[in-house]
Amino acid sequence: MSIELKNITYTYSPGTAYEIHALKDINLNIPDGQFIGVIGHTGSGKSTLIQHLNALIQPTSGTILYNGEDVWEEKYDRRSLRSQVGLVFQYPEHQLFESDVLSDVCFGPMNQGMSREEAEEEAKKALLQVGFKEKNFSKSPFELSGGQKKRVAIAGVLAMNPKILILDEPTAGLDPKGRDEILDQIAELHKVRGITIILVSHSMEDVAKYVERLIVVNHGEIAFDDTPRNVFTHYQELEAMGLAAPQITYIMHALKEKGLDVDPDATTVEEAGKDILRALQEAGSPLLKGGRKDD
């Protein structure tokens, strides 16, 4: 079970004055069960890339294989593909339309052919899993806050029981608390349901904390595709692309330069904290004894 992209290129408005080459020769293999981050600056082609994964847009050239089958073959059932590869778009208000939250989440499952009762069951399960409170189930989606709307949108796709869940900037426009909550719940989904998660994001901090594989997109090409740890060692190149490594990477590099024997590639604050303590201990630093005289 996997998605494979082979030499994908995509051009918006080909043959006009507004032609944009959004993707250039992308090769990618997404096996089952991974937690993947996709990162890149504004306009680098992230949204365009992920829309290829569930056959929403047809590549200008190249092939996309899902479980070894070409999804753009004449007879291929793309509707069934879309219910296996769930995609949550960048702005959730784009898809809510029903008069109450529960019905809206039922839309997807019912399109899959479930009865209203079955769909409601899936919908409730999905809503609770993304941390949406039961007492709000009968509210209109339009009187919800941004964070709640986002949860409903994610639940709307989750209720279809996809094998792969793609989220386009699920944390845009949320406060730090809401952001952490949503990301934690997504990580929880990955654990509980064991589904593949592809998380598109601007924030290196978010991505570093959760994902096991990081794909960096730059000007429609894949610049890096590796573990976050390995990607962040290229922090100078990332900067040149208008991205930044997590702040902790900078601190660790600065410490290393000043002579402290730390591992500069630590990616999360926790990891780095431990490593700094260890290095200080090894160096027998007076900092640890509370003494500051010789520092």
Binding site: S13, F107, N111
Partner: protein, 267 residues
């Protein structure tokens, strides 16, 4: 998918036509349209063709784009031609039942076709070389005398430019919402008419909501910047005629004179 629809598309290029004052271009289009109706003989059409071809050459817009606009009127063109060919009384040259093809009909049909085609090409040449903003600016200035008759020229042109600006935004929005719903298993293609209409609900509700939200935001933003009608407003880029505009007016006048002369003399 839906983005492929183009309405009055502007083609960015650097040519004299692009730089002309929009009022000059509006007047030019008007004169060209009048001339197409004044000419009615082969030499006349030859003059119009040369004039149009020269403009296209100067505009630096690829010919492909100019003919794109013709696709839209193709059906109308065929129907008009058929009506003219078969329903004009005159010397019958071919007969099928009650349908009579006449010599006069054919000549009228050809003339109508030429006029229609030139009309469309002429006006698309203007929209291709003028941004919608310039166009409304030009209209506003050109129609200013109507202010005396209490026609709210500024408000009308403001509404026009906002509407023009919203078309691509709404198309883009439609595209996004459609994709979001297709990702949730929605189907916009299959089914009978009733089902199709029902299937549009998940598209139309969010689209209307977002259109109203945008309109509201825009109104708020305009208010926040103290926008108030047209009275005593100045423009950021006031229109002002340059030498090239005066030269163009001279050429246009000469062209119109030729058209009138042809008509009067009857060539």
């Amino acid at each position: 998918m839906i983005r492929d629809i183009t309405i009055g598309q502007y083609y960015p290029a650097d040519s004299i036509l692009h730089r002309l004052d929009p009022r000059t271009k509006l007047m030019g289009t008007l004169i060209f349209i009048i001339s197409v109706f004044l000419f009615h003989t082969i030499p006349g059409y030859a003059v119009a063709t040369i004039f149009l071809a020269a403009l296209i050459k100067i505009s630096k817009v690829p010919v492909k784009f100019i003919f794109k606009g013709l696709k839209a009127i193709f059906v109308i063109l065929i129907i008009t031609m058929l009506f003219n060919i078969f329903l004009t009384p005159g010397e019958v040259i071919w007969k099928l039942g009650f349908l009579k093809m006449t010599k006069e009909g054919i000549s009228l049909a050809v003339r109508m076709a030429i006029r229609l085609i030139y009309l469309v090409i002429g006006s698309s040449l203007m929209t291709l070389t003028t941004t919608p903003n310039q166009l409304t600016d030009g209209l506003e200035r050109g129609l200013r005398p109507l202010n005396r008759l209490h026609v709210p020229v500024h408000e009308i042109s403001m509404m026009m430019s906002i509407a023009l600006r919203f078309i691509p935004i709404l198309l883009e929005e439609t595209d996004k919402i459609m994709k979001a719903q297709i990702a949730r298993g929605a189907d916009f293609e299959d089914g009978n008419l009733l089902q199709k209409v029902k299937n549009m609900v998940p598209l139309l509700v969010p689209l209307f909501i977002s259109a109203f939200r945008r309109a509201n935001d825009l109104a708020m933003a305009m208010e926040a910047r103290c926008y108030h009608g047209g009275e005593h407003r100045t423009q950021m880029k006031p229109l002002c005629y340059e030498k090239r505009d005066h030269v163009t007016y001279l050429i246009l006048a000469a062209y119109l004179a030729v058209a009138i002369t042809f008509r009067v003399v009857g060539i």
